[in-house]
Symmetry: C2
Subunit: 661 residues, 2 copies
C-alpha cells in the first residue's frame, strides 16, 4: 500500500466499516454484497482485454460474450433478487453497459406491465429464456420526446386481423434503441394506431425483426447499427425501417387499450398508467447519478492523496495535491453531492416502490408528485453529475485523460442520461408544470399536501423578491434546518416569479402556450431551485437516522458544505430574495474554507465508504492501494500501438517523405 | 437546401459576406482563405475513411499519411505564410490533431529560440526537411506543471564532453509528449543539469531517440505510446525512459545558458526568455477556443433551425427547436461568447506579435502583463469553451451523441487544452499573482499602466464589498460602457478581497505560502473576474471598428447579451459589491429575453459568418444545406458493424445461450 494513502486511512475520525453498513442498509447487506462481488472478482470467465484496446466490433463481441455469461451464471448461482442482480451486473460491467440491458430494463418490464393474460402466457416464457431477445423502439430519426410527433404507423386490417406497420418517411425510421442494431430478434415498437381510418395515438406492438434461427432480418425489415457514438461502444443502438410489416392482432399490447377483431378500438382506463415505466427508469437514473459521482470522487480523491505536485512552502517536498485549497474546493463539494444523491436515490426508489404498491391497489393520488419529482431530480442529478465527473477528471491533471483512469469511460457512458428517458430541459419543464399548477392551487386556497406544501402559506409570508432584509438575521448559517428553510423560500420565490412571468405574458395578450414558452427560462430556474431544496432537505433528514456520533459529525459537515456551497453558487438568488445578507454571504465563504479543512482528514475514508471494488472501479488512478505510477506504466506498455517497436506508417509515409523534400 | 434553413438565411438583417470580411480581416483575406480551402476540398488525396470507423492503429496510420501529404503539398503549392499554413492544415485536419504537430509547434520553435548560431546551422535544416522529426519532452509520469519537481537528470562528463541522461525513478519517465511514442526520432528533453556535482536546474537537450534508417529505438532508450486517451487518437503521446544515454555537449541548447567544455556553467541573462514559447502557445489556445466554440454553435444552431420537435401551440405543426426560449438561452449566449473569444484571440495574437518585436529589441517591459493575461485568458476561454461544446452537443438531443455530429470529436480534441500548456487552475493562480502584485504596487502609490490601471484609483473609489448602493443608479443596463465599468469594479473588488484574505491569514501568523494557499479560492475568483472584464472590454472596443450599420447593430446586441448574461450568472458578485441593485437584476433578466428574440432571426446568419467549410466542420448536423436526416441515415449504414447482416457474436454466444437456459 502507498504510504500516503495508508496514512490518510489511519487519520480518519470515524469507522469506515460502519459507514459502509449505513450506505448499504445494514451489515448483512454488506456481507451479501461482498459475497456477490467476490463471485465475479475471482471468476476467470470474466477476464477480458481492456475494451479501450479493441475495435468497435471486438468490443461488441466481448460485451455480448460477457452478457451471455452473466445470464448463465446468475441462474447457476440462483441470484434472483433484483438488488443482488444489480450488484452482480455492476461488477461484471464496470463502467460499461450491458449489451443485452434493454431486454431487462425496458422490454421485459413493458411486457409485464402491458401484456394481457394471454399475451403474458405466450411472451414472458420466451423472453425470460432469451429465445426472444427484445428492445423498446420509440424514438425516431426525426422525433424524440414529443410522442404525438412520432410517425410510425400501425394500421389495422380487419380482413386478415393483422396490423400493417410502416415507416412512411426518413424521419420516421426508429433510431437509437439499444440492442436494436444487431442483437434483438424482437422489438416493442411504438406506433400511431389506425383503425377504420381513425388515428388513436401511440400504442405498443411486438414486432419480430429477425429470423429465430438464422438471425437474418425478416422481409420488410431494414435494421442496423446507427454507427459510433460518444460512448456506448458496447451497445448496438440501432435503426429500424418498416415496410408493410404485418403482425397478428394479438401482438398489440392489450392490457389497457384494445383493438377488437372487427377493428373496434377500446380506450385505456387511465392515461397515467403508461407513466409507470418512465418513472421507474428515471428513479433508477437518480441512483446512477449517485454511483457515478461517487466513483469519480473516489478516483480523484485517492489520486489526490498520492499525487505530489508543486509547492506550498518553498524548499519543502511537493505536497499531496489534496492539500491545495483549490483542489479541495473542486472535490469536496462534489463528494458532498455524491452523498446527497446517494440518499436522494434511496429515497426516490423507496417512494417509487411504496407508490407502486398504492397504484396496484388503485390509488393514483401520489403519482403526479412522484412523476414531477422523478423528472426534475433526474435532470438535476444527471446535470450535476455530468459536469462533476469532468471536474473530477480534470482535477487529476493529464492522467485523468488516460483511459486507464476510467474517467473517459465514466463520462461517455454517463452523459447520455442527460438526454435519454426524457431530455433534461424537458424534464425540468415537466416539473415546472407541476409546480405552477400547485402554485395556482395554493393561490386558489387549496391546501397542498406532500412536498409542495411549502406553497400553502406563501401569501401570508409575502415571499417576493425584495432587497430588504426582514428575515435574514434569523438565519444561522451553521444550522442546517435554517438552510433548508432558506432553500425552501428560494424555491417558493422562484416558483412565484415564474408564475408571475406567465401572468405578465398573458396580460400582453399572449396565448397560454406562448406565455409558457416566453417564461421557460424562469420555469427551469424554478424547477432547479425546487429540486435543490428537495436534495438539501433529504440530506438533512437523513442525518437524524445516523446514530454513530463520529459518522453523524462527518456527514453533518458534508451536508453543511453541500448546502452552503449551493448558496454561494446561487448567491444572487438568495440575495435577490432577501433571504441572506451580504455579510452572511461573506461569512459563508469563510465558513466553506473551514469546512474544507475539517473534511480534509476524512476525505479518503469518505470515498472508501462507497466501497467500490477495484475491479468495478477499473481505474489505475483510483486503486485502493494507491500504487498509481507503476500500474500506469504497465498498462501503457500493453497498448496495441506498442505491439511493435516501429509502426508500419514509418516505412509507408515518413521515411519516403525525406526523399521528396 | 432545406427550406427552413433557406428561410433563416433570407430573414437575416445583415450581409453575411461583409461580416465574414470583418472576421477574416478584409475581402482579400477571405478570397485567399477560400482559395486554400478549395485546394483541400477538391483534393482526392485527402479523401479518407471516417476515423470513427477505424481502430486506433488504423487511425494513427491514416493520420500520418495525411500529415506527410500535407507537408509535401504545402511545399508544392508554395504556401509558407503561417496564417495560410494554418488555414490549409485546419481544412485537412478537420476536428482532429496533426500527428506531426508537435514538430512544428514545439520542436522547431524551441530550436529557433534556444539554439546558438552553430546549433541552428546544424539542426534547423535537418528539422525543416523532416529528417529529424522531433517533439518536446518536459512532463513526467509523476510531475507536471512544477518544473523544479522534474527528476530527469543530465550529468555532464568532462572526460568525454558528454551529458549522461537518466530517468532515475518510475515517476521520472517522460510522459505525454505528442508524437513521442512512435513518430519522432529526436526529442528536446528537459532535464536537471548537473555539472561538477551541482544542480543548475532545468535545461533543454536534444536527444536522438531512434535510428535514422531503421527507426528502432537506440540503446538505453525505452520509448512507446502511453495508450488510449480521451481523444487525441491520432497522436502517439509517448513515454520515454532514459538509461545512461550519452549525448555530445553540443546537444544542450546554448543560446542563453551554457556549459563550457570543462563543465563550467554559464547562467542565462534573463529567466523570462523561456516564457516566450509558452506565451505563444497559450495565445494560440485562446484562438482555438474561439474556433471550437464557433464550430459548436454553428452545428447546434443550424441543426436547431431544421429540427422540429414538440409543440408550443397545440394543434400547430412542431416548431423549429430554435423557437424555444430555453434553446435560445442555451445557444445565443454561447454564440455571443464565440464572437467575444474571436475578438479576444485576435487581440492577444496581435499583442503577442507586437511585444515579441519589443523583446527582440531588448524591451521586456510588457512581457509580465502578457504572460499573466495569456495565462488567465487561456484558462478562462478554454473552460468556457469546454463546457460550451457540451451544452451545444446536448442541445441537439440524441443526435448530438452520434459521432456523425462531430461533437464527440470536437469535445475530446478540445478538452485537453484545459490541462496542457499550463493547467487551468494553476494558470488562474499565475494571473492572480500578477493581480495581487499590481494591487500592492497601486496601494503603495505606484501608478500602474496597461490593463491593470484600474487598480490605480481604488483607494479613492473605496471599492469594497457593501450592500449599500452608492453607484448602481448610474448604471444603464443597455449601455455597454457602463457594463464594462461594472465588470471592472467587480474585478477590482474581488482582487481587493483576495488580497485582504491573504492579509488576514498573515495576521493569523500564517506564512506567506500558507496565506496564499488559504486564499486560493478567492484568488481564482479574482482572476476569473479580471479575465471576464478584459473580454467584455475587448468585445465592446471592437464594436467601434465596425462601420456597417446592420452589422454594428447585431454585434452590439451580441455584446450586450454577453455582458448581461455574464452578470446574471455572477449576480451575487455584482449585488454583493453593490454594483447593481435587485430591481436592475430583474430588469436584466427581462432584457436578456428580449435580446434572445432580437437575435433569433439572425442566428443562422451569425454562424454562417464563421464561414466553416462543410468538410472542415465534418458534421452531419451542421451541414450548410441543412439536409440532416438522409445524411445521418447514409452515414450510419456505412458503419463497420453493418458490414454483415448478422454479427458473428450471434452464432458464438447468443444462439448457444438458448440451449443452456
Amino acid at each position: 500500500m502507498n504510504p500516503d494513502i495508508l496514512k490518510e486511512r489511519q487519520n480518519a475520525s470515524f469507522d469506515v466499516q460502519k459507514l459502509i453498513y449505513i450506505l448499504d442498509g445494514g451489515p448483512e447487506k454488506t456481507k451479501r454484497k461482498r459475497e456477490i462481488v467476490s463471485l465475479v472478482a475471482n471468476d476467470p470467465d470474466f477476464d477480458e482485454v481492456d475494451p479501450n484496446f479493441l475495435s468497435r466490433s471486438e468490443r461488441y463481441d466481448q460485451a455480448v460474450r460477457k452478457s451471455a455469461q452473466m445470464i448463465l451464471k446468475l441462474r447457476e448461482y440462483g441470484i434472483a433478487d433484483p438488488e443482488e442482480i444489480y450488484i452482480y451486473k455492476s461488477m461484471v460491467l464496470g463502467n460499461r453497459h450491458d449489451t443485452l440491458g434493454l431486454h431487462n430494463v425496458m422490454f421485459l418490464p413493458t411486457l409485464y406491465s402491458q401484456c394481457d393474460q394471454e399475451q403474458s402466457k405466450k411472451w414472458l416464457p420466451l423472453a425470460r429464456s432469451f429465445k426472444v431477445m427484445g428492445t423498446y423502439a420509440q424514438t425516431e430519426l426525426g422525433h424524440g420526446t414529443h410522442l404525438r410527433g412520432l410517425e410510425t404507423t400501425a394500421t389495422y386490417d380487419p380482413a386478415t386481423q393483422e396490423f400493417v406497420l410502416n415507416s412512411p418517411t426518413v424521419t420516421s425510421i426508429k433510431w437509437w434503441p439499444g440492442a436494436l442494431g444487431k442483437t434483438s430478434n424482437h422489438a416493442i415498437v411504438l406506433a400511431q394506431l389506425y383503425t377504420h381510418g381513425h388515428c388513436h395515438g401511440l400504442h405498443a406492438f411486438i414486432v419480430q425483426l429477425r429470423h429465430m434461427d438464422t438471425h437474418e432480418p425478416l422481409p420488410g425489415i431494414l435494421v442496423g447499427d446507427i454507427g459510433p457514438k460518444f460512448g456506448f461502444c458496447e451497445v448496438d443502438n440501432g435503426f429500424l425501417k418498416l415496410d408493410n410489416v404485418r403482425i397478428p392482432r394479438e401482438n398489440m399490447l392489450m392490457k389497457y387499450a384494445k383493438v377488437e377483431p372487427d377493428g373496434r378500438y377500446v380506450k385505456p382506463p387511465s392515461a397515467k398508467l403508461t407513466y409507470g415505466t418512465m418513472v421507474f427508469v428515471r428513479s433508477l437514473i437518480v441512483g446512477q447519478s449517485a454511483i457515478n459521482l461517487a466513483k469519480s470522487c473516489t478516483i480523484a480523491i485517492r489520486y489526490s492523496a498520492v499525487r505530489h505536485q508543486s509547492e506550498i512552502r518553498s524548499g519543502e517536498p511537493e505536497p499531496q495535491i489534496l492539500d491545495y485549497q483549490t483542489q479541495q474546493y473542486k472535490l469536496f463539494p462534489l463528494l458532498a453531492t455524491a452523498y446527497a444523491f446517494t440518499f436522494v436515490g434511496q429515497y426516490i426508489s423507496q417512494t417509487y416502490h411504496r407508490i407502486t404498491g398504492d397504484i396496484n391497489h388503485g390509488d393514483f393520488s401520489e403519482l403526479p408528485e412522484l412523476h414531477a419529482l422523478s423528472a426534475g431530480l433526474k435532470a438535476f442529478t444527471t446535470w450535476a453529475t455530468n459536469s462533476g465527473i469532468e471536474v473530477c477528471r480534470m482535477s487529476c491533471g493529464g492522467h485523468g485523460y488516460s483511459c486507464s483512469s476510467a474517467f473517459p469511460d465514466l463520462y461517455v457512458q454517463f452523459t447520455p442520461t442527460c438526454t435519454y428517458e426524457g431530455e433534461n430541459t424537458v424534464m425540468m419543464l415537466q416539473t415546472a408544470r407541476y409546480l405552477v399548477k400547485s402554485y395556482r392551487q395554493a393561490k386558489a386556497g387549496q391546501q397542498l399536501k406532500g412536498i409542495m406544501a411549502y406553497l400553502n402559506d406563501m401569501e401570508q409570508r409575502q415571499v417576493r423578491a425584495h432587497p430588504a432584509s426582514a428575515r435574514p438575521t434569523v438565519v444561522d448559517i451553521n444550522d442546517l434546518s435554517n438552510l433548508v428553510e432558506s432553500y425552501k423560500l428560494r424555491a417558493a420565490t422562484l416558483v412565484e416569479s415564474a408564475a408571475r412571468s406567465i401572468q405578465q405574458e398573458l396580460q400582453k395578450r399572449k396565448s397560454q402556450e406562448d406565455a409558457w414558452n416566453n417564461s421557460a427560462i424562469d420555469l427551469v430556474r424554478a424547477s432547479d431551485a425546487h429540486c435543490h431544496y428537495v436534495v438539501v432537505k433529504l440530506f438533512t433528514e437523513k442525518l437524524s437516522e445516523i446514530g454513530d456520533t463520529a459518522i453523524h459529525s462527518v456527514l453533518s459537515t458534508l451536508a453543511l458544505l453541500y448546502a452552503l456551497h449551493g448558496i454561494t453558487k446561487n448567491s444572487g438568488d438568495f440575495l435577490q430574495a432577501g433571504l441572506l445578507t451580504v455579510p452572511q454571504m461573506q461569512q459563508i465563504s469563510v465558513r466553506i474554507k473551514e469546512l474544507l479543512c475539517l473534511l480534509r482528514p476524512n476525505a479518503v475514508a469518505l470515498v472508501d465508504a462507497f466501497d467500490f471494488n477495484d475491479k468495478n472501479l477499473n481505474s489505475v488512478l483510483g486503486r485502493y492501494d494507491g500504487n498509481v505510477y507503476e500500474n500506469l506504466f504497465d498498462w501503457a506498455r500493453r497498448s496495441p500501438l506498442n505491439a511493435t517497436e516501429v509502426h508500419e506508417s514509418f516505412h509507408k509515409y515518413l521515411k519516403p517523405l525525406r526523399s521528396k523534400l
